[in-house]
């Protein structure tokens, strides 16, 4: 058992922390309020290599391990989960999916610019009537011989407008159910694609979330990922890794709110002393610290398993479910510790509380994670 980080892992965590505290912090409230896409930050993080940090250097990535990745996502999320979700989707869904299941030509053409961060990727699975029930895909990709013809609508797509490359899950053989589903690489600017308006979200308002409509979009045959019918497996396996990123994000939201709550509790005075000296507040901070540490251990365990090439599906589900629910609890308490100041925007914790809520919903709701975990527990 080894609980220490390598020198490189610490360096990457510090680099992410420096960027988040020095740069993201300056305009996070304004971007949240006005729903402004963090274009300059995404560019800067791409230049630093954070957008494709786990991709092998062979494909122009950073070549870092999953432990380094979750350390970086936590630090970015402490300040700005809108930025970290763009980073997480690009790294652990799009780049990982392409690197693991794409062929050489696909990696050369599509993975390299994504790993360099020159293009941003989006993962298009959810539909207006297919969220947790991902088998009910209504988007169709009909085999026309030379190409697939894509029709349908995808919902809640992170980076839906900004992305240059889409990974689209669609039904090719409806009679085969989920075994008839395929995954395709689609150029965002292909003819027949239209993007819906920016979703006016409760939190993570600086990331661009859109619905995407496909009308007779021709997708070249060579853009299908894997064998015919591999799409559902592709989506599920990719989401297993994605959960680690969102778990790290939820952890970061919680620890960011916690750091602010500790700072505030040491400064704010009530009844003649700093409120941290009141046991009601001190015990809250104690409970928050234990929950955050538990979540951190779950996230690091899942990331470590991934780095060791061991099965991590259940570990990532546990990390995601626990951290998402924990982030909601911890951010709520952070607002409570701040009192009235916690309810106004300039103290950040109300935003972190709004951001925490989404981690219980996207990339597999907490309830879906419990299905994954309980099936594993009950399997024998």
């Amino acid at each position: 058992m080894e609980f220490s980080f390598s020198e490189e892992q610490l360096m990457i965590r510090q680099a992410a922390r420096d960027y988040a505290q020095r740069e993201l912090f300056t305009d996070v409230i304004e971007r949240d309020e006005k729903s402004v896409y963090p274009e300059n930050h995404v560019r800067a993080l791409a230049d630093l290599g954070f957008m494709g940090m786990m991709v092998s250097p062979e494909w122009d990535g950073g070549g870092m391990d999953a432990v380094s990745y979750v350390l970086a996502v936590e630090e970015i999320s402490k300040v700005d989960a809108s930025v970290s979700v763009i980073m997480s989707v690009n790294n652990s869904l799009v780049c990982w999916g392409l690197e693991t299941f794409g062929n050489q030509e696909q990696k050369e053409k599509y993975l390299k610019p994504l790993a360099r961060g020159e293009k941003i990727g989006a993962f298009l699975l959810s539909e207006p009537e297919a969220g947790s029930d991902a088998t009910s895909q209504r988007t169709t990709a009909i085999d026309m011989g030379d190409y697939y013809l894509l029709n349908g609508t995808k919902n809640w797509i992170t980076s839906g407008h900004t992305a240059g490359t889409y990974l689209v899950i669609a039904q090719t053989h409806p009679e085969k159910g989920h075994k008839g589903i395929n995954a395709f690489i689609v150029d965002r600017h292909a003819s027949g694609i239209s993007v819906g308006p920016h979703e006016n979200k409760m939190g993570m308002r600086s990331s661009d979330t859109h619905s995407v409509m496909f009308t007779d979009v021709k997708v070249p045959k060579e853009n299908r990922i894997g064998d015919d019918g591999f799409g559902f497996k592709f989506a599920m396996q990719t989401l297993e890794g994605g959960r680690i990123g969102i778990a790290a994000q939820a952890l970061g939201i919680a620890s960011g709110a916690f750091e602010l709550a500790v700072k505030y509790a040491k400064q704010r005075k009530a009844f003649g002393t700093e409120i941290a000296n009141h046991q009601s507040v001190a015990f809250k901070l104690s409970d928050m610290a234990v929950k955050i540490e538990t979540g951190r251990l779950l996230v690091l365990k899942a990331a470590w398993l991934k780095d060791q090439h061991l099965p991590y599906g259940v570990a990532s589900a546990m990390a995601k479910q626990y951290c998402a629910d924990m982030a909601m609890e911890v951010t709520t308490e952070a607002v409570q510790i701040h009192g009235g100041y916690g309810y106004v925007k300039e103290y950040h914790v109300e935003r972190l509380m709004r951001e925490a809520k989404l981690t219980q919903i996207y990339e597999g709701t907490s309830e879906i994670q419990k299905i994954v975990i309980s099936r594993s527990v009950l399997k024998d």
């Binding site: 020198e7 360096m11 990457i12 420096d18 020095r22 630093l48 290599g49 990535g61 950073g62 070549g63």
Partner: protein
């Protein structure tokens, strides 16, 4: 042109300093070491100069006096972009000793420009750069807030009281840099972290320097007293407190 950046490793600037059980030592247990902030800005400017098209800067080398505790900090400098590093293998002591040790190294390898931060954020001596220039016999300038290259010469700005001095200097030069030399320190990129794995970190033996300075002890400053509020109209009480407690009158 070759640029050397003298790089100190210092406790993270948020560290709460603890005096050891022997009061002549600082307890460094659990301290996180970082690049001295002034040196980090010096390194950033050196790299900016190197990256200018046609700058003529061939190499940026960081030079540290320290034991192996400094290695992670030095590798961060390599990840930020320094081409290679030299660590003179001894724990740093007083400014003159460090300056002599550095000067002995710089006697073995010539650099056109040697940058040093204004002071280290641990002991705040603010002397090593100037002493190094003196021991080396190089032209030395302090308080440098801007640095550029012009046709093989160094163009610098120095902050003065109420004004700024612009200078052009022929290398070699020791420049002691301060605020303004670079805006924000660089953050290492993933590529930089990877490249740092294979960049040279040369460890060299120090020359012997005579210790002429011994720290007898450290002590904490007096804790700040609580703010005393004097009610309006009680000026006599205020004057009495300033005389008897604050002893400023």
């Amino acid at each position: 042109m070759k640029i050397a950046v003298c790089l100190s490793h210092v406790p993270d600037t948020t560290t709460r300093i603890k005096i050891g059980s022997q009061s002549d030592q600082i307890d460094y247990t659990g301290v996180q070491w970082v690049i001295n902030p002034w040196d980090e800005l010096a390194l950033t400017r050196a790299l900016e100069l190197k990256e200018l098209p046609g700058s003529g800067v061939d190499e940026v080398v960081v030079v540290n006096v320290g034991d192996s505790i400094a290695d992670p900090v030095i590798r961060k400098a390599l990840a930020i972009g320094a081409d290679r590093a030299v660590r003179v293998n001894t724990a740093p002591s007083d400014s003159l000793s460090v300056a002599r040790i550095l000067a002995a190294f710089f006697a073995t390898e010539r650099f056109d420009l040697i940058l040093a931060g204004l002071e280290s954020s641990d002991y705040n001596g603010g002397m090593t750069g100037m002493l190094l220039g003196g021991v080396l016999g190089y032209r030395t300038l302090n308080g440098i807030s801007a640095l550029n290259l012009e046709a093989g010469k160094l163009k610098l700005s120095r902050e003065m009281d109420g004004s700024r001095q612009i200078l052009v200097v022929e290398p070699p030069l020791v420049a002691v840099v301060q605020k303004g030399i670079a805006i924000v320190p660089r953050i290492p990129s993933m590529r930089g972290v990877m490249q740092a794995r294979t960049k040279p970190l040369q460890v060299v033996d120090p020359v012997k320097v005579e210790a002429g300075l011994t720290t007898i002890g450290y002590s904490y400053p007096k804790p700040k007293g609580a703010c005393r509020m004097v009610a309006p109209g009680n000026e006599n009480e205020l004057i009495a407190l300033l005389k008897t407690e604050a002893r400023v009158l």
